[in-house]
C-alpha cells in the first residue's frame, strides 16, 4: 500500500498542481514541493526501516522488501504488482530526491503555465517511480511509456530554441524502441505460457523461462534496444544531446538524473536475469560499445561550446561506465555501476542546475561568452568547481568510487577494454578542467555584474554536494542495501545458466 502511496502522491499532486495553476503561480510550486518531499520522507523512512545488511537469502527467487499485488487485467494474467527490493529502493530515494531538487530549481525559471509544468514534472516522476517498482512486465511497460509523454511536454513547452525538434526526436527514439520491447514482452510471456500453460506477466514467474536459444537472442534484443536507447549506448545516443540541451533545467535534471537510470535499471533487472545466455553472448559487443561510448562522450564533451551540450556528452561518457560495469556482471562491477548511477544522477543533475542558473543570469549557454565568473559569482563558481571535480572522478566523491569499482570489476573480464575505459577518466579531467577554466576562471572581460546564489539556490545545491561527498566517503549503507538484491539477481542468472547447461 505504501508503494502505491508513493506513486499516488505524485499523480494526485500533479492533478492538484494543474488545477491550482488556474488561480496562482505559487500554489503549484508549493504543491509539487510538498508531493516530492513527502515522497522523499516516505522513501527515506523505508530505507531506514530496511537499513543494514540483509544476510539471509530468502527462499523465493526475489527478496522483496515491500510489495503490493492487485488484480488488474485477469484476461492476460496481468496484475498491478508493485514490489521493492534494495535496488529499487535506492533508485526511488534518488528519484524523490532529484524530484524535490528539480521543483526547487525551477522555482524562478518557470513563469508560464506553472500548473501544467508541475503536472508534467510530477507525472514524469510518477512514471519513473513506477518503472523502478513494477514487478509485472505489463505494468513496467505501462510506466515506461507513461513517463514519456509528460517528459516530452516539458521539453516541448518550456524548452529552449530548438525545443520542438528535440522533443520529437526524444519521443520517437524512446517510443520506437519501447514498441520493440512490447513485442518482446509479449513473445516472452507467450513462450512461458506455451511451456507452463499459464498466461502471466509476473516478473518472478517469468524468471527462469527456458527459451529456445534463437528466439532468446531476438527477444532479449527487443528489451536491450529499449534500454540501450534510454541509457544511452552509442550509437543510439543521438537524441540525448538535443533533449538535454533544449530541456528546461528541471527537465534536464530529470532526464540525466533519472530517465537514463531507467535504462540501466532495466538492464540489471530484466535483461540479465531473464535472458542470461543471450546477454552473455552479446556482452563482448556491448562492452566494446560501452568503451566507445566512454571515449566518444568524453571527446565530444571536450569540443562543445554550449555548456548544457557539454554536460550532456559527459552523460554519454559516464553512462558508458555503467553499461560497461553491468555487462561484466560481477559483484564489483555491478556495485560500481550502481554507485556510478547514483553519483551521476546527483552530480550531473547539479551541473545542469548550475548551467540553468548561469543561463538565467548571463542569458547564454555559450562557454565563450562566459569566463571570469568567479569574481562576481564566487559561491556559484565554487559549486561549479566542486561538481566539475565530481565529473572528473576526484577521489572522495561518488563518481570516483563508481568508476574505480567498475574498472576493478571489468579488468578480469576484459583487460584491454578496461585500459581503454581508464583513458576515459583521463579525458574527463580534460573536459572538466576546460569547463572550469573557460567559464569561471580568467579575467572578467565581459564585466559581468551578477547576483550570486540566493538562499533558495544554496538550499538546492548544498544537499547535492553533501550527498555526493557522502557517497564517496561512506558508501557502505548503499552497498548494504544493494547487496542482497545483487546477490539474488546473480544467483538467478547463475542458476539459469546451470539449468541451460544441463
Amino acid at each position: 500500500m505504501i508503494l502505491f502511496g508513493l506513486i499516488a502522491i505524485l499523480l494526485i499532486g500533479g492533478l492538484l498542481a494543474a488545477a491550482a495553476g488556474r488561480w496562482s503561480r505559487d500554489w503549484p510550486r508549493w504543491i509539487a514541493l510538498a508531493a516530492t518531499s513527502i515522497g522523499l520522507l516516505i522513501s527515506m523512512g523505508l530505507w531506514m526501516r530496511h537499513a543494514g545488511p540483509m544476510a539471509v537469502l530468502p527462499p523465493t527467487p526475489i527478496a522483496w522488501l515491500e510489495q503490493l499485488d492487485w488484480r488488474w487485467i485477469p484476461r492476460f494474467g496481468i496484475r498491478f504488482h508493485l514490489a521493492m527490493d534494495g535496488l529499487s529502493l535506492l533508485l526511488v530515494v534518488l528519484s524523490f530526491f532529484l524530484g524535490t531538487v528539480a521543483v526547487l530549481a525551477s522555482w524562478r525559471e518557470i513563469q508560464e503555465r506553472v500548473g501544467f509544468f508541475h503536472f508534467n514534472l510530477l507525472w514524469t516522476l510518477a512514471g519513473v517511480v513506477g518503472v523502478f517498482l513494477a514487478a509485472d512486465l505489463f505494468l513496467f511497460y505501462f510506466a515506461w511509456e507513461m513517463m514519456l509523454i509528460p517528459m516530452s511536454f516539458l521539453i516541448l513547452l518550456w524548452g529552449h530554441e530548438r525545443r520542438v525538434y528535440a522533443a520529437i526526436k526524444f519521443f520517437l527514439f524512446t517510443q520506437l524502441s519501447g514498441l520493440l520491447m512490447l513485442v518482446s514482452i509479449v513473445a516472452l510471456v507467450l513462450t512461458h505460457a506455451r511451456q507452463t500453460g499459464t498466461l502471466t506477466f509476473q516478473y518472478a514467474d517469468l524468471l527462469g523461462t527456458a527459451i529456445p536459444p534463437r528466439s532468446e537472442t531476438w527477444i532479449m534484443l527487443g528489451f536491450f534496444i529499449a534500454f540501450a536507447v534510454k541509457l544511452p549506448m552509442v550509437p543510439f545516443h543521438t537524441w540525448l544531446p538535443d533533449a538535454h540541451t533544449e530541456a528546461p533545467t528541471a527537465g534536464s535534471v530529470l532526464l540525466a538524473g533519472l530517465l537514463l537510470k531507467t535504462g540501466a535499471y532495466g538492464l540489471i533487472r530484466f535483461v540479465f536475469p531473464l535472458f542470461p545466455r543471450a546477454a552473455r553472448e552479446v556482452a563482448p559487443i556491448v562492452m566494446t560499445l560501452a568503451v566507445v561510448g566512454i571515449l566518444y562522450g568524453a571527446i565530444f564533451a571536450y569540443s562543445q561550446t554550449d555548456l548544457k551540450r557539454l554536460i550532456a556528452y559527459t552523460s554519454v561518457s559516464h553512462l558508458g561506465f555503467v553499461l560497461f560495469g553491468i555487462f561484466a556482471w560481477n559483484g564489483l562491477a555491478l556495485q560500481g555501476a550502481l554507485m556510478e548511477m547514483l553519483a551521476h544522477g546527483i552530480g550531473t543533475g547539479a551541473l545542469f542546475i548550475l548551467a540553468g542558473q548561469l543561463q538565467e543570469r548571463t542569458g547564454t549557454r555559450e562557454i565563450d561568452q562566459m569566463g571570469g565568473l568567479w569574481q562576481p559569482l564566487p559561491r556559484l563558481s565554487g559549486a561549479g568547481l566542486f561538481f566539475a571535480m565530481g565529473a572528473l572522478g576526484l577521489p572522495g566523491l561518488g563518481t570516483f568510487l563508481g568508476e574505480f569499482l567498475v574498472l576493478f570489476g571489468t579488468y578480469p573480464v576484459s583487460r584491454w577494454r578496461t585500459v581503454l575505459a581508464a583513458i576515459g577518466i583521463l579525458l574527463a579531467t580534460l573536459y572538466a578542467l576546460r569547463l572550469v577554466q573557460r567559464v569561471f576562471h580568467g579575467p572578467n572581460v565581459h564585466n559581468w555584474i551578477l547576483p550570486d546564489l540566493s538562499v533558495r539556490e544554496m538550499f538546492v545545491l548544498v544537499p547535492l554536494i553533501v550527498s555526493l561527498v557522502w557517497l564517496g566517503l561512506y558508501p557502505q549503507p548503499v552497498f548494504d542495501t544493494f547487496g542482497t538484491t545483487m546477490k539474488t539477481l546473480q544467483q538467478v542468472v547463475a542458476d539459469a545458466i546451470l539449468a541451460q547447461a544441463r
Binding site: R75, E145, I149, I168
Partner: protein, 478 residues
C-alpha cells in the same frame, strides 16, 4: 413469426419507429431541438431494449437474422455511436443555414442498416443492411449543400459505394451458383462437409466479396475514396462513416468468416491487404497537411491493425477485434468530435492552422484532442494502448510475427503525424485568424465523456474485456 421473435427484433423496430416518428414530427413542425430529442429518445430506447433482448439471445429470427450476444454488442456500439453523432451534429448544424431536421432521419436509417448488418446471417440481409446503411450516407455526405466539397464527397461516395455493391452482388451470385445457398451457416457446413466443390467459382466469388468489403473498410488497395470523402463530408458524417459504417461491415466480415472452416488461399491475400493498409495508410498520412485527410489515412491503417486481429486464431479474433473496434469507436468519435466543435460555419476545422496554439485558447479541448491522438497512436493511459496490446498479444499467440512487427513499426511511424498535430496544439504562436467559435455544450459534454471513457478503459479495461469475452463465447455463424 412468434412473440419472442418480435422481442428479439425490438431494437430494429424501435430504430425504425424513431425514424418514422421523427419524420412525422418534421411534417407537423420544423424544430431542430424537437427532432434531436426524438432521435435521442429513439436511440436511447433502442439501446435500452438490448437488455430486454439479452436474456433470449441467441435466437435466430427467420433465416436472415441471428440475434446473439455478438449482434447485440455491435448494435449497442452502433446505436451509441449514432447517439454521439447526433449530439455532435446538433451544434454543427446550428451553425449552418438551411434545413437541419432531415439529417437525423437519415442518421437513424443508417444506424438501422448498420444494426441489420451486425445481426445478419445471410447474404440477403447482408445486402439489405448494407444498402440501408449506404443510401442515407450519400445524402448525409452532401448534406451541407451550399459548400462545394460535401457535394463532391457525396457523389464520390455514391459512385464508389455503388460499384462496391456491384462487386458484392456478383460475388454472392457466384457463391450461390456454386453452393446453392446464401446462409452463412449452410455455406460453412457445405464447405467443411464436402470437398467436391468448384473452387473455380467459389474463389472468385470470395475475392469479389472481399473487394466489396475492402471498399467499405477502405483497405489498401481499395482505399482511394477515403481521404476525399473524409475531407469533403461534414465532420459528424465523417465520424459516422469512420465508425459505424466501417464497424458494421467489419462485424459482418467476422460473422461471415466464422463459418468457413479453412479460409486457405484467402489468408495470404488478407495478410497482404493488412500489411499494405498498415504501411501505406501510415506513410501517406505523413504527407497530409489536412487534419481530416490525415485522420482518413490513419483510419486506413487502423483497419489494417484490426485485420491483424481478424487473422488471429480461434475465438481470439472476435474478442480482440471487438475490443479494438469499441476502443476505435471511442477514439475516432472523440477526435472527430473535437474537429466538429472547432468547425466554423463556412468550413470545417481541417487545417493544421486551426489547431495551432489551441492549448492557449481552449486547454480542455486541446487536452482531449491530445488524448484522442495519443490513443490512436496507442500510447499507455489511453484505451488505444490496451487495444493495440490486445492485437499484439493475439497476433503473437497465432504466431503472426511478421504482421505484428509491421504493426509495431508502422505505428511507431504513425507517431510522426500524430505528434505534428499535438505540437501544433501546444505551439506558442497564435494563428492569424483566430475566431473562437462558440462551442456547443452538448458536443463538449460528449467529448468529455468520451475522453473519460478513453482514460478509464486505458487504466482499467477489465469491464470491457469481460463483455467482449462473453461476446466471443456466444459467437456463432448463424
Amino acid at each position: 413469426m412468434q412473440r419472442a421473435d418480435f422481442t428479439a427484433l425490438l431494437p430494429f423496430i424501435l430504430l425504425a419507429a424513431a425514424a418514422v416518428v421523427a419524420m412525422l414530427a418534421i411534417a407537423v413542425t420544423r424544430s431542430h431541438r424537437l427532432t434531436l430529442s426524438l432521435t435521442l429518445i429513439g436511440l436511447a430506447a433502442a439501446f435500452g431494449s438490448l437488455f430486454l433482448v439479452l436474456p433470449i439471445a441467441p435466437s435466430p429470427v427467420t433465416p436472415l437474422l441471428l440475434i446473439d450476444q455478438y449482434a447485440l454488442f455491435y448494435i449497442g456500439l452502433f446505436v451509441a455511436a449514432g447517439f454521439a453523432v447526433a449530439l455532435l451534429a446538433y451544434g454543427y448544424l446550428e451553425k449552418q443555414e438551411g434545413r437541419r431536421e432531415e439529417f437525423y432521419l437519415l442518421l437513424l436509417i443508417a444506424t438501422l442498416g448498420a444494426a441489420v448488418l451486425a445481426a445478419s446471417s445471410h447474404f440477403a440481409s447482408f445486402f439489405l443492411g448494407l444498402e440501408t446503411l449506404s443510401i442515407p450516407l450519400f445524402a448525409l455526405n452532401a448534406y451541407v449543400q451550399h459548400r462545394r466539397r460535401p457535394l463532391e464527397a457525396g457523389i464520390k461516395y455514391l459512385v464508389l459505394a455503388t460499384s462496391s455493391s456491384a462487386f458484392l452482388l456478383f460475388g454472392m451470385a457466384l457463391i450461390y451458383t456454386d453452393l446453392g445457398t446464401m446462409s452463412f451457416r449452410r455455406i460453412g457446413a457445405l464447405l467443411s462437409g464436402n470437398p467436391e466443390i468448384h473452387p473455380a467459382l467459389l474463389l472468385p466469388g470470395a475475392a469479389m466479396i472481399l473487394t466489396g468489403v475492402g471498399f467499405k473498410l477502405s483497405l489498401v488497395p481499395f482505399h482511394f475514396w477515403t481521404p476525399d470523402v473524409y475531407e469533403g463530408a461534414p465532420a459528424p458524417v465523417a465520424a459516422f462513416i469512420a465508425t459505424v459504417s466501417k464497424g458494421a461491415v467489419f462485424a459482418l466480415l467476422l460473422r461471415a468468416a466464422a463459418g468457413v472452416p479453412d479460409a486457405g488461399p484467402m489468408i495470404p491475400a488478407i495478410s497482404v491487404i493488412a500489411a499494405a493498409s498498415m504501411i501505406l495508410g501510415n506513410f501517406l498520412a505523413l504527407l497530409q497537411d489536412n487534419v481530416k485527410r490525415m485522420l482518413a489515412y490513419s483510419s486506413i491503417a487502423q483497419m489494417g491493425y484490426i485485420l491483424v486481429a481478424f487473422l488471429s486464431a480461434g475465438s481470439g479474433a472476435v474478442e480482440t477485434a471487438s475490443f479494438y473496434l469499441a476502443v476505435y469507436f471511442v477514439t475516432t468519435l472523440g477526435a472527430f468530435g473535437v474537429v466538429t466543435l472547432l468547425s466554423r460555419p463556412e468550413r470545417d476545422a481541417d487545417l493544421l492552422n486551426d489547431y495551432r496554439g489551441l492549448f492557449r485558447r481552449r486547454p480542455l479541448l486541446a487536452g482531449i484532442f491530445t488524448a484522442m491522438l495519443l490513443s490512436l497512436a496507442g500510447l499507455p493511459l489511453t484505451a488505444g494502448f490496451v487495444g493495440k496490446f490486445y492485437i499484439v498479444a493475439a497476433g503473437g499467440a497465432s504466431a503472426r510475427w511478421t504482421l505484428v512487427l509491421i504493426l509495431v513499426v508502422t505505428s511507431g511511424i504513425s507517431l510522426f503525424y500524430y505528434l505534428r498535430v499535438v505540437v501544433a496544439l501546444y505551439a506558442r504562436t497564435e494563428p492569424t485568424e483566430a475566431p473562437i467559435p462558440s462551442l456547443s455544450l452538448l458536443g463538449i459534454g460528449l467529448v468529455i465523456v468520451l475522453a473519460g471513457l478513453l482514460i478509464g478503459l486505458g487504466i482499467y479495461p477489465t469491464p470491457l474485456i469481460r463483455v467482449v469475452q462473453a461476446v466471443a463465447a456466444g459467437f456463432g455463424s448463424g
